[in-house]
Structures are given as C-alpha cells and as structure tokens.
C-alpha cells in the first residue's frame, strides 16, 4: 500500500454467500455484482428513471414480446470485448441451468428465447409481456471465462483474482470472512472511480463498526441505530446521512390463512377475522410514539403502504379516515361489539379471547421495542399481546400458525411488485406455499384496482389508482403499516469528499440500485485533510469502562512487581 493510495473502506456485517452472481443473493454480494458487472440498464440517481448501461439503447415490439438491446462497445477488464453473445449466454444459462437461476431466475422465467444475431444486438423473446425488462437486475457475465466454470451450483467464483468483469470496480482480492478488495476499472466507460481501492471490511458487530469508523479503520458505516446516529452527529470528521427510508415497517394480522381456493388452514385466532377487533387493535398503536422512541425520532409515522420517499405514489390517510391512536375508543368499539373484559382484564366474546401471539423478528431491536409498547397499549384496551420473538417467521407464515407478525418491505421506485403481492391470486395455491406476501390479504376490489393501474398508461392517473389501493389496504387493517424508518449511515468526511446518493439529493449511499455512491465517491485532497485523529469517543464510557478494566489490570501488575521484590526471601 503506497502512501498516497486512497482507499475507501466500507464496513459490512454480512458474510459473502458466493461471489458467483448466479448464486449470490445477499445484499452485500448483489451489491458487489452491481459494482463489478455492468447490467443492461441502470437508474438515474436524480430522476430514478431507467438509463442506458451495457445496453446503449433498446426497442420493443408492439406486442411487447420481443425486446432488442443494442450492446455498448466496451471491454471486459481483461481486455476482451464485450459482445451480445456474453449477454445471450448469461440469460440462456440462467434459463437452462437451474443452479444458474438460483439468484435471478425470476427474471428469465418468462423468457421464450434469447439470441445474439450480431455482436452488438441482443434479442429477447418473451412468453408474455414483462414489466421488468428495463429493470433486469442481472449481471452480464463474460462467457469466455464462465463457460469453463463447470457445475454452477458449486462454482463460487472465488479462486481466481482479479475477477473479470465490466463494472466500475474489479474484485481483486477476497479473504474469507474478512475483506473484499476492489480496484478501479480504469477503462470503465462511464469513467473510472476516483478512489484507488475500495475495501469491504467485515465487521460483524454494529458497535464495532462504529468504533472502527471513529478510529478511522473504516470510512463508511450503514445501518446505524438511532443512538449511534445521534452520537456520531457530533463527532469530528464524521458525517451522518439520514436518508428517507425506502422500507416500511408493519405488522400483519392473520385474517384467517387460506389458499387461493378458499381452503383455510392454520390456527390463527378467529377474533382477528372480525374487522372491529382489527380496527380496535390498530387504534391501540401509537405510531408517533413508536417512531419517536424505538426509532429515536429517525423516521416517519405513517399508515400509507408506499413510503413518502416516493412522492408520486405515496398516500396517507387524512381527516376522519385516520384510524388513529385512541385506546379508549378501541375499548368502546369492542364493548359495542360485545367483547367484554374478563376477570383477567382481557376481553372475550363467546369463547374467543382477545389474546394474540405476536411474533416479532428477534434480530430487529426496533420491532421488539415497538412490540413491547404495543403490548402495553393493547392491554389498556383489554387485548393481550403475547410477544414471542422468533428468528424466522417464514415457517409460521407458511403454516398460518400466527396471529400477528412484524414485517417490513423495501419498496422500489415502481410500486407494481409491492402492490401485486397482496392480490388474491398471490395467495398460495397449495398448502405449504409458496406465498409471496405475508398477510393473507385478499380483497376483490383491491384486485380490480390493481388491474386498472396496470392498464393505465398515464402516470398521474395510475398514481391515483395506486393511492386508492393503499386506502383499501389501510381500511382493511390486515396489513398495518407503522411508517418508514430513516436509513442511517455515516462516513468519514476527512476521507470522502462527496458521493452521489440515490435519490440525489436526500437519498442513501448504501444498498443503492446501482453503483453510484462508490463509483462517484471522491477522496478528500491531501491539502484539506485534517490530521487524522479519531475524536468523538464518549468520554463517559472510556472513563467508566477504563476505570473498571484498568483497576483490575493495575492491581495485577502492581502485584507482580511486588512479588518480584519478595521472591528473594528464602522461606522454609
């Protein structure tokens, strides 16, 4: 490492599942795919619109079944030219080889055929029209390298470095469970990255990540807790980025799990099938309080399904439509509906007790904190929530053996997918899954609206329909959104001068749909780089902890020295 080499180090807590884009499904490794392989298209960080990438341009047939991409004339990092054949091979392999379809197979499920009539032209024929043809999140791989890979199920692409790719960065070293080092692709057609090195450094513990940031061992940390964000805000040379979240946090209430044919299954508490109970329950949730306490104020309480970050589609209840926090009213509603409080303070009607299992993702502290709060509010209204943290909700969901689940989804700029999962046709066809969503929501009116928005080509009008759909979801109180937590990140401002967020401005740097942040990151010039000292560690903890540790150690050392002195006496 030469002195003036500029390294950008990102702390990551996920381990590498595979460096083969065919297999990689984790956030970290898909991000690595985006950095090291170009995709056909990309998103403009400012507008969110699709822009050309490896595909310079594209056309589609009137029936939408044939897509033709013009492939950019550029080179793999080993100097071999990139051709349409590479793209064809990539898609074709995913269609033919089940292992190669592991990560992104869903994109090609609908492909009829792929061909490369000439080195610059890629042609895809579809079985049915497909909305994602301009959002194919598929790294195009160099055929000449990958042909020889053998069994794709076993090939992890982690033996030979640097890995031949086409993105702005080249994966040039990988130490299992420790770090991944990338070097710039000097010939990247959009321009080479500014840093000389990009290192993803594995630090599992969130506190350790922040400490490493403070110590200057890493330059960027994401997934901050609210407390960390607040503490770092005042730290020297560190900039905290609070991006509006693209995820919503929610709970789903089991309305009676069922298959598409209406067969019910599972053991969800039947009381939740009563809309009154559901509404009453929702009225016991103080969303504002959740975001104020559990999210430390970094987030927005909001019942709308699509986060406010997406202004066009975002909807939120207003006026009388708001099912707001009011435990008294919840109680009255339940009283009116005949749910009377028992001796234990829990309401029941005809043997149906308002006592619900509340399965919370154990690895999400905010969910747990919110769940604890919800339990107390619900209790005031005579509803019992039994908070049961679980490591994985999938099995409970598939079996329908839950009452209330926490959930959260990342929402793409285009809401189609996230809306689609809640259709009746999304319900599992057979017992045991698969089930895309996690609410067993099924409302024919909602389905109708979904179809309408799909057919509507005028964006404002489509947005209107999307908002109506959200209203439906909101009223039904099955998929109950709390709001949107901010995405909290921090970076060393004495290392990184600037980076492009997504959306720009106000967006996030980490887990972007593209490579903008790390590609665009500009190092701080030597002249304006302050003496690198890591200030900002809280003196309280240092003093407190230090006192404890040092006291113990000092005692030990003093003793050792003492003993040195007394060893001379020759006792019997």
């Amino acid at each position: 490492e030469t002195k003036d080499e500029k390294t950008l180090t990102i702390a990551v807590s996920q381990e590498v599942d595979s460096l083969s884009p065919f297999l990689a499904v984790r956030r970290l490794t898909t991000a690595l795919g985006r950095l090291s392989y170009d995709f056909l298209t990309n998103y403009d960080p400012k507008t969110g619109k699709t822009i050309p990438a490896l595909a310079e341009s594209w056309t589609t047939s009137p029936d939408g079944l044939t897509w033709t991409y013009k492939i950019r004339d550029t080179k793999w990092t080993d100097g071999t030219p990139i051709t349409a054949e590479d793209a064809r091979w990539t898609f074709d392999t995913m269609m033919k080889d089940e292992a190669a379809a592991t990560a992104n197979g869903n994109f090609v499920e609908n492909f009829e055929s792929v061909s490369a009539p000439d080195p610059r032209t890629l042609e895809v024929k579809l079985k049915a029209p497909q909305a994602t043809m301009l959002a194919l999140d598929v790294p195009i791989l160099p055929k000449h390298k990958w042909e020889k890979a053998g069994d794709f199920a076993k090939f992890n692409n982690d033996k030979e470095f640097p890995i031949v790719g086409s993105g702005p960065w080249v994966i040039s070293a990988y130490e299992v469970n420790q770090s991944i080092t990338l070097t710039p692709n000097k010939d990247f057609w959009r321009g080479a990255p500014k840093f000389d090195k990009l290192v993803f450094r594995y630090i599992d513990d969130s506190d350790a990540q922040v400490e490493a940031l403070k110590a200057g061992e890493v330059d960027f940390v994401s997934g901050l807790t609210p407390a960390q964000a607040k503490a770092l805000d005042s730290a020297k040379d560190i900039t905290v980025n609070k991006a509006k979240g693209k995820r919503f946090q929610a709970i789903t209430l089991n309305p009676g799990a069922r298959l598409q044919d209406g067969t019910t299954f599972g053991d969800g508490n039947k009381a939740l099938q009563d809309p009154v109970v559901r509404e009453a329950l929702v009225r016991t949730i103080d969303r504002e309080a959740i975001y104020k306490t559990a999210y430390g104020g970094f987030g927005e309480a909001n019942g709308g399904y699509i986060p406010s970050r997406y202004k066009d589609y975002h909807w939120q209840p207003e006026g009388d439509a708001v099912i707001g926090f009011d435990t008294a009213k919840a109680g009255q509603m339940l009283d009116a509906a005949g749910y009377a409080k028992g001796s234990d303070g829990i309401r029941a009607k005809g043997g149906l007790k308002l006592s619900f299992r509340f399965n919370v993702h154990a690895d999400n502290p905010q969910y747990i904190q919110a769940a604890e709060m919800m339990r107390e509010w619900a209790k005031e209204a005579g509803i019992e929530l039994k908070v049961e943290p679980v490591s994985e909700v999938g099995a409970l969901l598939d079996a329908g053996t839950y009452d209330i689940l926490t959930t959260g989804w990342s929402v793409n700029p285009d809401p189609d997918y996230i809306l689609g999962i809640n259709r009746c046709s999304g319900l599992p066809a057979k017992a045991g899954g698969p089930y895309l969503s996690d609410a067993y929501y099924c409302n024919p009116e909602y389905d109708k609206l979904y179809a309408a928005q799909l057919a509507e080509l005028d964006p404002p009008k489509r947005a209107e329909i999307v908002k109506q759909m959200q209203e439906k979801l909101y009223e039904d109180n099955i998929f109950v959104v709390w709001g949107y937590a901010d995405q909290l990140e921090a970076f060393r401002s004495d290392v990184i001068a600037s980076m492009t967020p997504q959306p720009d401005p106000g967006g996030n740097y980490d887990s972007q749909d593209g490579y903008w942040s790390w590609w665009s990151a500009k190092p701080v010039g030597d002249e304006d780089k302050a003496a690198a000292d890591s200030g900002g560690t809280s003196s309280g903890l240092v003093l407190g902890g230090g006192a404890v540790v040092l006291a113990a150690l000092a005692a030990g050392f003093v003793l050792l020295r003492r003993r040195g002195g007394s060893a001379a006496d020759d006792r019997e």
């Binding site: 990540q209 503490a231 306490t293 747990i368 107390e376 309280g540 903890l541 407190g544 902890g545």
Partner: protein, 281 residues
C-alpha cells in the same frame, strides 16, 4: 450451624460475597414495593429515552426512557430466579444421579455414568445455546437449557463424594446393622453430600447467571423480559457501546459480575469451611 457460621465468619471474602448477595436478594424481593411495576412500562416511561445519569435517574434511562437503575433492580429478580431455578434443576438431577451412580454398582451405575459422561463431553454452552434455540425464546427455556446442561458436573461431584462416603466404615456399620439401600442413601449419604452440593450450588448459580447473559447476548434470550442479560443485549441493540451510553451497558455487566463474584466467593467460603484441609491453609 453456629459452628459453621463461626467458621464462615473468618472468611472475609465470603462475608463480602454474602453481603453483596444479601443486598441483591433483598432488593429483588422488595423491588415490587420500592420500585413498582410501573417502572417497567415502555409506553409511560419515567423519562426521555437514553438520558444520562442525573439526580432523578441515578443510572440514566434506557432506550424506552425507563430508569436503568429500576431495570437493574427488576432484572436482579429475573437473573437471580434464572440462576436459582436452573441451579435447582441441575442440583436435583445431578444429586439424584450422582447418588444413584455412586451407591449402586453394576449396570445402573454404568449406565448413569455413561450418560453423565456423554453430557459432560458436550460443551455446556453449545448445548445450552442449542437448546435455547430449539425450545424457543423464554426464560423457562433458558432455565431448562442451563439446568439440563450443567447437572453432569454436580453428578460427578456427588458421585465422587458418594463413593468417598460409602467407603467410610460407618456405612459398613449401618449395613451390618441391617440398614438397606434407602437407609444408607438417605441417612448417611445424602446428609454427607449436602454440604458439597451446597457449595456447588453457589458456584453454579454464578455460572447460570453468566450463561443466561451469554444466551441473551447470542440473541437467544427473551428480549421482552428485563433480565441483566437482556438489558445488555438491549443496550447493544441500541448501539450503546459506540454511542457512549455507558450508563446503559456498564451497570448490567457490573451487576452480573458482582453477583457472580459474590456467589463464587460464598461458594469458596463454604467449601473452605466444609473442607478443613482448605481452611487451615
């Protein structure tokens, strides 16, 4: 008993341990009256979240705005309960198996020994963690996991002691007087292994409390119940270490260390009293 206490009193560390324990046990017993259940409310907390220590909150507040001191006090209840309950299981199982394995000879003892050894080679914590994962997150799970995994130590100890006791001539005398298995086990062996078991208990409680915190640290505890382990875990979840929230992370750790130490000191003191060979040294 008076003699026991007289001997015990000579051990200053043991007295310190006992005093610490007394404070914790007392506060655990009295906490519903001195602090009250309201202190645990996350929706009507006494203060703002994550406030540093002040006159009002001696140890600051947690992520929900509750007094950390109150949490520690309530947590002592849970941690001590876990410690004692787990120890009880392990001591009960361990003593029973140990006495049986030591008293009887032949296949029963062989079988029990095998089972004990089997449990003994399995890393206790791995097994406890695995059990905690298997049985789901709750305090009773942790109690069972710790209890089930730590009995072999007691069993070995009790067996060794049983063998030692059974080699004493008074057992032969009791048998020569016509005493049967039951008589020998209850009248002679049991009273003689009890002191060892007592010493072992105190040592084990310390281990159980530590294990509880470890299990919680590994994210397998019940985060909704304010034990010391789960408080540390909550603090970690909050990012307390890197956010300088020392009042959130230090107290539960110190409480664990203090109680574990106190139990250990008591255990050693008791051992010292019971084993004069240690005492005279």
């Amino acid at each position: 008993m008076a003699k026991f206490w007289g001997d015990y009193r000579q051990n200053r560390a043991g007295l310190f341990g006992l005093a610490v324990l007394a404070v914790f046990v007392l506060s655990a017993l009295l906490v519903p009256w001195i602090v009250g259940e309201d202190a645990l409310s996350v929706t009507r907390p006494a203060g703002e979240p994550l406030q540093p220590p002040s006159g009002e909150f001696w140890l600051g507040t947690d992520r929900s705005g509750r007094s950390v001191l109150d949490l520690i006090l309530w947590g002592s209840r849970v941690s001590l309960t876990v410690g004692f309950a787990a120890t009880l299981i392990s001591i009960a199982v361990g003593s029973l198996i140990g006495i049986l394995a030591g008293h009887f000879h032949g296949w029963l003892s062989g079988l029990l020994l095998r089972v004990t050894d089997w449990f003994l080679v399995m890393p206790t914590l791995v097994l406890a963690v695995a059990l905690a994962a298997v049985l789901g997150r709750s305090l009773s799970t942790i109690v069972i996991a710790i209890g089930v995994t730590s009995w072999p130590t007691t069993a070995r100890l009790v067996r060794a002691q049983t063998l030692a006791v059974e080699a004493r001539p008074y057992i032969e005398r009791a048998r020569a007087l016509g005493g049967g298995h039951w008589h020998v086990m209850t009248r002679h062996v049991l009273p003689n292994v009890m002191p060892i078991v007592l010493a072992q208990t105190t040592l084990m409680v310390a281990g159980a409390i530590l294990t509880e915190s470890t299990v919680a640290f590994l994210g397998l505890g019940d985060p909704t119940v304010p034990s010391w382990g789960s408080t540390i875990q909550a603090a970690r979840d909050t990012g307390a270490v890197s956010s300088g929230l020392w009042w959130y992370i230090l107290p539960p750790g110190i409480a664990i260390a203090l109680v574990a130490l106190a139990f250990t000191l008591c255990g050693r003191a008791i051992e010292g009293v019971l084993n004069p060979r240690l005492r005279n040294r």
